[in-house]
Point group: C2
Chain length 199, copies 2
Protein backbone atom coordinates (compact mmCIF):
# COMPACT_ATOMS: atom_id res chain seq x y z
CA UNK A 1 0.00 0.00 0.00
CA UNK A 2 2.35 2.74 -1.07
CA UNK A 3 1.00 6.25 -1.53
CA UNK A 4 1.93 8.34 -4.54
CA UNK A 5 3.45 11.70 -3.63
CA UNK A 6 4.88 12.86 -6.96
CA UNK A 7 2.72 14.86 -9.32
CA UNK A 8 0.67 12.87 -11.82
CA UNK A 9 2.04 12.76 -15.32
CA UNK A 10 0.08 14.31 -18.14
CA UNK A 11 -0.86 10.86 -19.35
CA UNK A 12 -2.34 10.09 -15.96
CA UNK A 13 -4.22 13.38 -15.87
CA UNK A 14 -5.71 12.60 -19.25
CA UNK A 15 -6.68 9.07 -18.29
CA UNK A 16 -8.38 10.23 -15.14
CA UNK A 17 -10.33 12.93 -16.92
CA UNK A 18 -11.26 10.58 -19.74
CA UNK A 19 -12.48 7.98 -17.26
CA UNK A 20 -14.75 10.48 -15.59
CA UNK A 21 -16.13 11.81 -18.86
CA UNK A 22 -16.62 8.37 -20.40
CA UNK A 23 -18.47 7.25 -17.29
CA UNK A 24 -20.68 10.33 -17.28
CA UNK A 25 -21.64 10.52 -20.91
CA UNK A 26 -20.51 7.32 -22.56
CA UNK A 27 -17.55 6.69 -24.82
CA UNK A 28 -19.24 7.99 -27.95
CA UNK A 29 -20.79 10.86 -26.06
CA UNK A 30 -17.46 12.51 -25.31
CA UNK A 31 -15.33 14.29 -27.89
CA UNK A 32 -11.58 14.51 -27.83
CA UNK A 33 -11.86 18.28 -27.52
CA UNK A 34 -13.68 17.89 -24.21
CA UNK A 35 -11.12 15.46 -22.87
CA UNK A 36 -8.38 17.88 -23.82
CA UNK A 37 -10.21 20.82 -22.29
CA UNK A 38 -10.57 18.86 -19.04
CA UNK A 39 -6.78 18.85 -18.67
CA UNK A 40 -6.16 22.32 -20.09
CA UNK A 41 -5.01 21.47 -23.59
CA UNK A 42 -6.87 21.27 -26.86
CA UNK A 43 -8.18 18.16 -28.54
CA UNK A 44 -5.43 17.26 -30.99
CA UNK A 45 -2.85 17.80 -28.26
CA UNK A 46 -3.96 14.48 -26.83
CA UNK A 47 -2.38 12.70 -29.76
CA UNK A 48 1.07 13.45 -28.33
CA UNK A 49 0.18 11.04 -25.52
CA UNK A 50 -2.20 8.51 -27.01
CA UNK A 51 -2.61 6.93 -30.41
CA UNK A 52 -6.29 7.80 -30.36
CA UNK A 53 -9.46 7.92 -28.36
CA UNK A 54 -9.79 4.15 -28.52
CA UNK A 55 -6.34 3.75 -27.00
CA UNK A 56 -7.38 5.76 -23.95
CA UNK A 57 -10.36 3.53 -23.32
CA UNK A 58 -8.28 0.43 -23.90
CA UNK A 59 -5.63 1.52 -21.44
CA UNK A 60 -8.27 2.34 -18.85
CA UNK A 61 -10.07 -0.99 -19.14
CA UNK A 62 -6.95 -3.12 -19.33
CA UNK A 63 -5.52 -1.19 -16.40
CA UNK A 64 -8.53 -1.74 -14.15
CA UNK A 65 -8.76 -5.40 -15.01
CA UNK A 66 -5.08 -5.95 -14.32
CA UNK A 67 -5.20 -4.12 -11.02
CA UNK A 68 -8.27 -6.04 -9.89
CA UNK A 69 -6.70 -9.36 -10.80
CA UNK A 70 -3.31 -8.68 -9.25
CA UNK A 71 -4.96 -7.36 -6.10
CA UNK A 72 -7.10 -10.47 -5.92
CA UNK A 73 -4.12 -12.76 -6.40
CA UNK A 74 -2.25 -10.96 -3.65
CA UNK A 75 -5.14 -11.55 -1.29
CA UNK A 76 -5.32 -15.21 -2.22
CA UNK A 77 -1.61 -15.56 -1.45
CA UNK A 78 -1.93 -13.70 1.84
CA UNK A 79 -4.95 -15.59 3.09
CA UNK A 80 -3.11 -18.70 4.23
CA UNK A 81 -5.65 -21.49 4.15
CA UNK A 82 -8.52 -19.66 5.79
CA UNK A 83 -11.41 -19.61 3.30
CA UNK A 84 -13.51 -17.27 5.41
CA UNK A 85 -10.68 -14.78 5.68
CA UNK A 86 -10.01 -15.00 1.95
CA UNK A 87 -13.59 -14.26 0.94
CA UNK A 88 -13.72 -11.40 3.43
CA UNK A 89 -10.51 -10.02 2.01
CA UNK A 90 -11.72 -10.26 -1.58
CA UNK A 91 -14.91 -8.47 -0.63
CA UNK A 92 -13.06 -5.71 1.20
CA UNK A 93 -10.67 -5.24 -1.67
CA UNK A 94 -13.42 -5.01 -4.22
CA UNK A 95 -15.32 -2.51 -2.07
CA UNK A 96 -12.24 -0.33 -1.72
CA UNK A 97 -11.77 -0.39 -5.44
CA UNK A 98 -15.40 0.40 -6.15
CA UNK A 99 -15.38 3.32 -3.74
CA UNK A 100 -12.02 4.68 -4.89
CA UNK A 101 -12.58 4.46 -8.62
CA UNK A 102 -16.25 4.88 -9.33
CA UNK A 103 -15.81 6.02 -12.92
CA UNK A 104 -13.67 3.01 -13.70
CA UNK A 105 -16.22 0.67 -12.17
CA UNK A 106 -18.82 2.19 -14.42
CA UNK A 107 -16.69 1.83 -17.53
CA UNK A 108 -15.68 -1.67 -16.64
CA UNK A 109 -18.97 -3.28 -17.58
CA UNK A 110 -20.38 -0.58 -19.80
CA UNK A 111 -17.91 0.25 -22.55
CA UNK A 112 -16.19 -3.07 -23.01
CA UNK A 113 -17.74 -3.58 -26.42
CA UNK A 114 -16.18 -0.40 -27.75
CA UNK A 115 -12.71 -2.00 -27.70
CA UNK A 116 -10.77 -3.57 -30.53
CA UNK A 117 -11.22 -7.32 -30.66
CA UNK A 118 -7.78 -8.07 -29.23
CA UNK A 119 -8.12 -5.66 -26.31
CA UNK A 120 -11.63 -6.86 -25.60
CA UNK A 121 -10.46 -10.45 -25.44
CA UNK A 122 -7.65 -9.49 -23.10
CA UNK A 123 -9.94 -7.58 -20.76
CA UNK A 124 -12.48 -10.38 -20.75
CA UNK A 125 -9.77 -12.89 -19.96
CA UNK A 126 -8.53 -10.80 -17.04
CA UNK A 127 -12.08 -10.34 -15.78
CA UNK A 128 -12.71 -14.06 -16.02
CA UNK A 129 -9.56 -14.90 -14.09
CA UNK A 130 -10.52 -12.41 -11.38
CA UNK A 131 -13.99 -13.89 -11.12
CA UNK A 132 -12.49 -17.38 -10.94
CA UNK A 133 -10.56 -16.35 -7.84
CA UNK A 134 -13.88 -15.57 -6.22
CA UNK A 135 -15.53 -18.74 -7.49
CA UNK A 136 -12.76 -20.87 -6.05
CA UNK A 137 -12.94 -19.07 -2.73
CA UNK A 138 -16.72 -19.37 -2.47
CA UNK A 139 -16.68 -23.03 -3.47
CA UNK A 140 -14.32 -23.81 -0.64
CA UNK A 141 -16.94 -22.39 1.70
CA UNK A 142 -19.90 -24.06 -0.02
CA UNK A 143 -18.60 -27.26 -1.62
CA UNK A 144 -22.11 -28.65 -2.05
CA UNK A 145 -23.22 -25.82 -4.35
CA UNK A 146 -22.85 -26.31 -8.08
CA UNK A 147 -20.06 -24.40 -9.72
CA UNK A 148 -22.37 -22.71 -12.23
CA UNK A 149 -24.53 -21.43 -9.40
CA UNK A 150 -21.52 -20.10 -7.53
CA UNK A 151 -20.30 -18.35 -10.63
CA UNK A 152 -23.65 -16.68 -11.16
CA UNK A 153 -23.74 -15.68 -7.50
CA UNK A 154 -20.29 -14.12 -7.78
CA UNK A 155 -21.36 -12.00 -10.73
CA UNK A 156 -24.51 -10.99 -8.91
CA UNK A 157 -22.47 -9.86 -5.91
CA UNK A 158 -20.22 -7.91 -8.27
CA UNK A 159 -23.38 -6.15 -9.37
CA UNK A 160 -24.21 -5.43 -5.76
CA UNK A 161 -20.78 -4.05 -4.93
CA UNK A 162 -20.56 -2.09 -8.17
CA UNK A 163 -23.81 -0.32 -7.41
CA UNK A 164 -21.69 2.28 -5.63
CA UNK A 165 -21.89 4.82 -8.47
CA UNK A 166 -25.67 4.90 -8.05
CA UNK A 167 -25.48 5.84 -4.38
CA UNK A 168 -24.22 9.14 -3.00
CA UNK A 169 -23.43 11.70 -5.69
CA UNK A 170 -19.73 12.16 -5.13
CA UNK A 171 -17.52 11.75 -2.06
CA UNK A 172 -19.18 13.23 0.97
CA UNK A 173 -16.86 13.14 3.96
CA UNK A 174 -15.26 10.01 5.32
CA UNK A 175 -17.93 8.90 7.80
CA UNK A 176 -20.34 8.41 4.89
CA UNK A 177 -17.77 6.32 3.12
CA UNK A 178 -17.06 4.14 6.14
CA UNK A 179 -20.80 3.53 6.52
CA UNK A 180 -21.13 2.51 2.88
CA UNK A 181 -18.16 0.21 3.22
CA UNK A 182 -19.63 -1.49 6.25
CA UNK A 183 -23.01 -1.82 4.62
CA UNK A 184 -21.73 -3.31 1.39
CA UNK A 185 -19.61 -5.77 3.33
CA UNK A 186 -22.62 -6.86 5.34
CA UNK A 187 -24.81 -7.26 2.26
CA UNK A 188 -22.21 -9.22 0.32
CA UNK A 189 -21.60 -11.63 3.18
CA UNK A 190 -25.33 -11.99 3.64
CA UNK A 191 -25.82 -12.82 -0.02
CA UNK A 192 -23.09 -15.46 -0.07
CA UNK A 193 -24.35 -16.85 3.22
CA UNK A 194 -27.69 -17.52 1.57
CA UNK A 195 -25.95 -19.90 -0.83
CA UNK A 196 -25.74 -22.63 1.81
CA UNK A 197 -28.28 -25.41 1.14
CA UNK A 198 -31.09 -26.16 3.60
CA UNK A 199 -30.45 -24.00 6.66
Amino acid sequence: MSIRTDAPTRREQILKAAARLFAERGFHGVGVDEIGAAVGISGPGLYRHFAGKDAMLAELLVGISERLLSGGRLRVAESGDDPDALLASLIDGHIDFALDDRPLITLHDRELDRLRESDRKLVRQLQRQYAELWVTAVRRLHPAVEEAEVRAAVHAVFGLLNSTPHLGSQDDGRPERAMTETLLRKLAHGAFGALAPQD
Copy 2:
Protein backbone atom coordinates in the same frame (compact mmCIF):
# COMPACT_ATOMS: atom_id res chain seq x y z
CA MET B 1 -51.20 -11.09 -16.30
CA SER B 2 -52.78 -10.94 -19.73
CA ILE B 3 -50.83 -12.28 -22.69
CA ARG B 4 -50.65 -10.32 -25.92
CA THR B 5 -51.81 -12.32 -28.92
CA ASP B 6 -52.15 -9.61 -31.57
CA ALA B 7 -49.16 -8.72 -33.70
CA PRO B 8 -46.91 -5.94 -32.38
CA THR B 9 -47.35 -2.57 -33.99
CA ARG B 10 -44.51 -1.08 -35.96
CA ARG B 11 -43.84 1.36 -33.14
CA GLU B 12 -43.43 -1.55 -30.77
CA GLN B 13 -41.14 -3.36 -33.18
CA ILE B 14 -38.99 -0.27 -33.44
CA LEU B 15 -38.86 0.25 -29.69
CA LYS B 16 -37.86 -3.33 -29.08
CA ALA B 17 -35.12 -3.22 -31.69
CA ALA B 18 -33.89 0.15 -30.45
CA ALA B 19 -33.76 -1.13 -26.88
CA ARG B 20 -31.60 -4.06 -27.90
CA LEU B 21 -29.26 -1.95 -30.01
CA PHE B 22 -28.94 0.83 -27.43
CA ALA B 23 -28.15 -1.75 -24.77
CA GLU B 24 -25.55 -3.44 -26.96
CA ARG B 25 -23.68 -0.46 -28.29
CA GLY B 26 -24.86 2.56 -26.36
CA PHE B 27 -27.22 5.33 -27.43
CA HIS B 28 -24.59 7.27 -29.36
CA GLY B 29 -23.14 4.09 -30.78
CA VAL B 30 -26.24 3.23 -32.79
CA GLY B 31 -27.35 5.07 -35.91
CA VAL B 32 -30.92 5.54 -37.01
CA ASP B 33 -30.12 3.58 -40.17
CA GLU B 34 -29.29 0.55 -38.07
CA ILE B 35 -32.47 0.82 -36.04
CA GLY B 36 -34.45 1.07 -39.24
CA ALA B 37 -32.64 -1.87 -40.79
CA ALA B 38 -33.44 -3.96 -37.72
CA VAL B 39 -37.15 -3.67 -38.50
CA GLY B 40 -36.79 -3.79 -42.27
CA ILE B 41 -37.15 -0.14 -43.16
CA SER B 42 -34.57 2.54 -43.78
CA GLY B 43 -33.39 5.19 -41.34
CA PRO B 44 -35.54 8.18 -42.20
CA GLY B 45 -38.60 5.95 -42.28
CA LEU B 46 -38.46 5.93 -38.49
CA TYR B 47 -39.52 9.56 -38.46
CA ARG B 48 -43.05 8.50 -39.44
CA HIS B 49 -43.31 6.93 -35.98
CA PHE B 50 -41.05 8.97 -33.73
CA ALA B 51 -40.05 12.61 -33.53
CA GLY B 52 -36.41 11.59 -33.38
CA LYS B 53 -33.87 9.25 -31.91
CA ASP B 54 -34.11 10.97 -28.54
CA ALA B 55 -37.85 10.34 -28.45
CA MET B 56 -37.29 6.60 -28.79
CA LEU B 57 -34.95 6.52 -25.83
CA ALA B 58 -37.29 8.70 -23.81
CA GLU B 59 -40.28 6.48 -24.48
CA LEU B 60 -38.25 3.41 -23.55
CA LEU B 61 -36.99 4.80 -20.27
CA VAL B 62 -40.26 6.39 -19.20
CA GLY B 63 -42.06 3.18 -20.14
CA ILE B 64 -39.82 0.95 -18.04
CA SER B 65 -39.97 3.25 -15.07
CA GLU B 66 -43.75 3.45 -15.21
CA ARG B 67 -44.15 -0.31 -15.53
CA LEU B 68 -41.79 -0.94 -12.64
CA LEU B 69 -43.60 1.54 -10.42
CA SER B 70 -47.12 0.41 -11.28
CA GLY B 71 -46.12 -3.22 -10.82
CA GLY B 72 -44.61 -2.40 -7.46
CA ARG B 73 -47.70 -0.50 -6.35
CA LEU B 74 -49.88 -3.41 -7.35
CA ARG B 75 -47.80 -5.72 -5.19
CA VAL B 76 -47.98 -3.33 -2.26
CA ALA B 77 -51.76 -3.28 -2.56
CA GLU B 78 -51.98 -7.05 -2.86
CA SER B 79 -49.70 -7.83 0.04
CA GLY B 80 -52.26 -7.21 2.75
CA ASP B 81 -50.26 -6.36 5.83
CA ASP B 82 -47.63 -9.05 5.57
CA PRO B 83 -44.23 -7.32 5.29
CA ASP B 84 -42.37 -10.55 4.53
CA ALA B 85 -44.77 -11.40 1.74
CA LEU B 86 -44.51 -7.88 0.33
CA LEU B 87 -40.72 -7.88 0.15
CA ALA B 88 -40.76 -11.36 -1.38
CA SER B 89 -43.27 -10.17 -3.94
CA LEU B 90 -41.24 -7.07 -4.83
CA ILE B 91 -38.14 -9.19 -5.26
CA ASP B 92 -39.93 -11.71 -7.46
CA GLY B 93 -41.44 -8.97 -9.58
CA HIS B 94 -38.12 -7.25 -10.08
CA ILE B 95 -36.46 -10.54 -11.00
CA ASP B 96 -39.16 -11.30 -13.57
CA PHE B 97 -38.69 -7.88 -15.06
CA ALA B 98 -34.91 -8.18 -15.14
CA LEU B 99 -35.08 -11.58 -16.82
CA ASP B 100 -37.79 -10.63 -19.29
CA ASP B 101 -36.37 -7.30 -20.41
CA ARG B 102 -32.62 -7.44 -20.15
CA PRO B 103 -31.96 -4.67 -22.65
CA LEU B 104 -34.28 -2.33 -20.82
CA ILE B 105 -32.60 -3.10 -17.51
CA THR B 106 -29.31 -2.17 -19.10
CA LEU B 107 -30.62 1.09 -20.50
CA HIS B 108 -32.37 1.97 -17.30
CA ASP B 109 -29.27 2.98 -15.41
CA ARG B 110 -26.93 3.58 -18.34
CA GLU B 111 -28.46 6.05 -20.75
CA LEU B 112 -30.52 8.18 -18.41
CA ASP B 113 -28.28 11.18 -18.90
CA ARG B 114 -28.93 11.23 -22.62
CA LEU B 115 -32.49 12.44 -22.02
CA ARG B 116 -33.89 15.93 -22.20
CA GLU B 117 -34.03 17.61 -18.81
CA SER B 118 -37.80 17.19 -18.45
CA ASP B 119 -37.82 13.51 -19.35
CA ARG B 120 -34.83 12.85 -17.17
CA LYS B 121 -36.54 14.42 -14.19
CA LEU B 122 -39.66 12.37 -14.84
CA VAL B 123 -37.75 9.11 -15.07
CA ARG B 124 -35.76 9.90 -11.95
CA GLN B 125 -38.94 10.71 -10.07
CA LEU B 126 -40.53 7.41 -11.11
CA GLN B 127 -37.38 5.54 -10.15
CA ARG B 128 -37.31 7.25 -6.79
CA GLN B 129 -40.93 6.38 -6.08
CA TYR B 130 -40.29 2.77 -7.00
CA ALA B 131 -37.27 2.62 -4.73
CA GLU B 132 -39.30 4.20 -1.93
CA LEU B 133 -41.76 1.31 -2.13
CA TRP B 134 -38.86 -0.99 -1.37
CA VAL B 135 -37.47 1.24 1.36
CA THR B 136 -40.83 1.31 3.12
CA ALA B 137 -41.18 -2.45 2.84
CA VAL B 138 -37.69 -3.15 4.15
CA ARG B 139 -38.07 -0.68 7.00
CA ARG B 140 -41.14 -2.49 8.20
CA LEU B 141 -39.01 -5.60 8.51
CA HIS B 142 -36.03 -3.82 10.06
CA PRO B 143 -37.38 -0.83 11.97
CA ALA B 144 -34.13 -0.40 13.90
CA VAL B 145 -32.04 0.27 10.79
CA GLU B 146 -31.54 3.86 9.69
CA GLU B 147 -33.49 4.93 6.66
CA ALA B 148 -30.40 6.07 4.76
CA GLU B 149 -28.83 2.67 5.25
CA VAL B 150 -31.95 0.90 4.05
CA ARG B 151 -32.08 3.11 0.99
CA ALA B 152 -28.48 2.32 0.12
CA ALA B 153 -29.14 -1.38 0.68
CA VAL B 154 -32.13 -1.25 -1.67
CA HIS B 155 -30.04 0.27 -4.42
CA ALA B 156 -27.32 -2.28 -3.83
CA VAL B 157 -29.84 -5.11 -4.18
CA PHE B 158 -31.08 -3.49 -7.39
CA GLY B 159 -27.51 -3.77 -8.58
CA LEU B 160 -27.51 -7.43 -7.64
CA LEU B 161 -30.78 -8.21 -9.39
CA ASN B 162 -29.88 -6.15 -12.43
CA SER B 163 -26.67 -8.12 -12.91
CA THR B 164 -28.73 -10.47 -15.06
CA PRO B 165 -27.44 -9.09 -18.37
CA HIS B 166 -23.92 -10.10 -17.34
CA LEU B 167 -24.86 -13.74 -16.80
CA GLY B 168 -25.89 -16.17 -19.52
CA SER B 169 -25.59 -14.73 -23.01
CA GLN B 170 -29.20 -14.87 -24.12
CA ASP B 171 -32.09 -17.08 -23.12
CA ASP B 172 -31.05 -20.68 -22.86
CA GLY B 173 -34.05 -22.89 -22.18
CA ARG B 174 -36.41 -22.49 -19.25
CA PRO B 175 -34.64 -24.66 -16.67
CA GLU B 176 -31.69 -22.26 -16.79
CA ARG B 177 -34.02 -19.36 -16.25
CA ALA B 178 -35.79 -20.97 -13.30
CA MET B 179 -32.41 -21.65 -11.69
CA THR B 180 -31.34 -18.04 -12.11
CA GLU B 181 -34.62 -16.87 -10.68
CA THR B 182 -34.25 -19.06 -7.62
CA LEU B 183 -30.66 -18.02 -7.12
CA LEU B 184 -31.30 -14.30 -7.36
CA ARG B 185 -34.21 -14.61 -4.96
CA LYS B 186 -32.01 -16.42 -2.46
CA LEU B 187 -29.22 -13.87 -2.76
CA ALA B 188 -31.52 -10.88 -2.41
CA HIS B 189 -33.20 -12.28 0.68
CA GLY B 190 -29.81 -13.12 2.11
CA ALA B 191 -28.56 -9.59 1.56
CA PHE B 192 -31.58 -7.99 3.19
CA GLY B 193 -31.42 -10.50 6.01
CA ALA B 194 -27.92 -9.29 6.81
CA LEU B 195 -29.35 -5.86 7.55
CA ALA B 196 -30.63 -6.99 10.94
CA PRO B 197 -28.47 -5.59 13.79
CA GLN B 198 -26.48 -7.88 16.14
CA ASP B 199 -27.38 -11.45 15.19
